[in-house]
Symmetry: none
DNA sequence: CATGAATGAGTATTCATTCAT
DNA sequence: GATGAATGAATACTCATTCAT
């Protein structure tokens, strides 16, 4: 079995997912019709239901699959980096690079996914925990190494830090047709402030 | 004319808004039927359209009106407080108190409002700017007083800080049926970390 | 009681009727809202229901009242005219003059009234019979006088003649914003052809 | 591919059209529910929207399609007939036969179609012109042949003649539950009178 | 695997009409 | 008589999903 043969079914699934990202980003999840996605993907309406349970499953699968790839790349870049602070810096750089280089996907992650009640309430996906825990684990490591204050609760800190990044991402995405602020600058400031906030006093 | 007579039209509008908060929080904005809101408010379906243009306008009006009241109370408590840091502390305390004391409204603010494309994209409401700028202005004041580092961009900082609060709020709201973390502790830590992050070095 | 006092209630009824003619002609009977008519007439919505049973009754009352006035004027002009042919000529002249001088009313008569199922099916109003019978009676008179062929059935002839006038009226009204054909010429030709068609052979 | 397979999509469209004729004639266009038509046609509500843009399009399509068939049959019968007068006779015979043999369709043509503002005002359908011009062209032919007076304007005459037929048709349809006059007699008289009216003087 | 014609549940909104003042 | 705030019935249309081919 050749690779191309092996990947064929996967290809179609990916074609649908990619079509969905484009269509959801353009028209919004709710106004996008499944038929629109099918047409964009070059398949019949019914075919989508061979790969996804329903429209919401399609949306959630975008998250799961693209977040998986994103995590793989992130872990690749974090590979070998020991310093917790450096790991956080790389994490933030990744986060904002993602916004810049994949604006359609960013729109889906920042806006469309949150249209799903299931995503917000029931669905607590593994990839998101893994993503958050890059920071959470770095904080714990830092505490173990004495770099980070002991009285910082990593659970609260990782969510607060993620919230800060997420809100800036959201504003950047939503200001699409207005003047965007500079993501690089924002990244630097957030990291800087965060580190000053959580680092142990330096003697 | 008695006071009760004078306030009657206002009363009905408020009754509808309050009913909508309860119904939207319980069933979600999209699955809530306008008829449900009407029944809860004790009015006919059509009456809602005497006060609101449509279902989405009803949702957005909840934000505008309740946020207005919230701002009034906030400004009341901030009245006379000069220290920027103290103002931020009070702001955070208010924010989390709001969550605790008005959980239904919190659900609408954190979850249901964001179902509205209009809210996320077109609608940029004055009350939200005012709310954000309590922190933004405090930062600028702090910089003028030399308490806060000059290289902190207040625009980025206020959004990042708001994002941190908002994400913690979201997690607290969404964990409704699970074990909630302690908001007091979270508030304290976020403020503490933020201050350490943005304060000028103390000589 | 002065005349103005006596006619006051009548005035309000007429004001509503006239407002209705304008509004129905402009927006169409179905899309016109009762509230539109009320606003145009300068009265409250509910007031209309003091004078008319419902919206359809208002439409039908326009016909009945304006047709009554029209008939009065027509009978005035026919007064003293003995010759049946002359009476038909005057009748046609009246019909087309009406179109020209009261285009809004013409629109209501030709188009909007026929939106009413009741008008088309149940309601067979006296004024319409009277109007038709101006021609019908002229034909019978003509037959008595030997001017018109005996084998012409006045019932069929009056309807056919009315249909011819009505269709030309309709086309004239509907072509409002296009090039209107000349009503004078049309009137003359229809009368001429009709007379040639029904007159007894002249020895 | 068998014929039945080939004609299937057409079949469903025709089934819906025919159901609509029956339902519209029985309940009236405005009170007929789309769901009534669907049930009568034995299809789901939504299926109607695969074949027609909306309820009004369904009504107008009835006219277009049935008028097309009617015209085909008319032209078939007129084929080979040279004499303009004979063509008009056949035309009238057809018109009134249509009323008798397809009373439901007649009801739709005479009453329900005119409930549509679009039909009356915007929509100027080719089939109607073709239908009218059978008479208009006959008149022109007759003038060329010297049978019909030169001073008859064919445009006015065809509309007036059509109006006469139409009004008699209308009265016949509307008197459904009352005593109907004899269409044969009416047809004969209208044609006879019209011919006397427009024929050139015979030397 | 793929198709796409057919399905049918589900609801926001309008506006003629009423009636308490 | 006059008002106009309140009522609530009534329905066309969409589109996610299915399933026979």
């Amino acid at each position: 079995m050749t690779e191309s043969e092996a990947s064929r079914p996967n290809d179609k699934r990916v074609m649908i997912t990619d079509a969905a990202i484009a269509v959801f980003a353009e028209k919004g999840y709710r106004s996008a019709r499944v038929a629109d996605v099918a047409k964009r993907a070059g398949v019949a309406d019914g075919t989508i239901y061979l790969y996804f349970k329903n429209k919401e499953d399609l949306l959630l699968s975008i998250f799961e699959e693209k977040m998986g790839l994103l995590l793989d790349r992130l872990h690749g870049d974090l590979n070998g980096i020991e310093c917790p602070l450096e790991r956080v810096r790389i994490y933030v750089r990744h986060h904002f690079n993602q916004l810049r280089t994949q604006p359609l996907l960013a729109q889906v992650f920042q806006v469309e996914l949150r249209q799903s009640h299931k995503f917000l309430r029931e669905y607590r996906p593994e990839p998101l925990w893994a993503y958050l825990n890059v920071v959470g684990d770095a904080l714990k490591d830092g505490q173990r190494q004495g770099i980070i204050r002991e009285d910082v609760d990593p659970f609260i800190a990782k969510w607060a830090f993620f919230g800060a990044l997420d809100e800036l991402s959201m504003q950047w995405v939503l200001s699409r047709n207005r003047d965007r602020f500079d993501l690089e600058v924002a990244a630097e400031q957030v990291v800087d402030t965060f580190f000053r906030g959580v680092l142990a006093a330096q003697s």
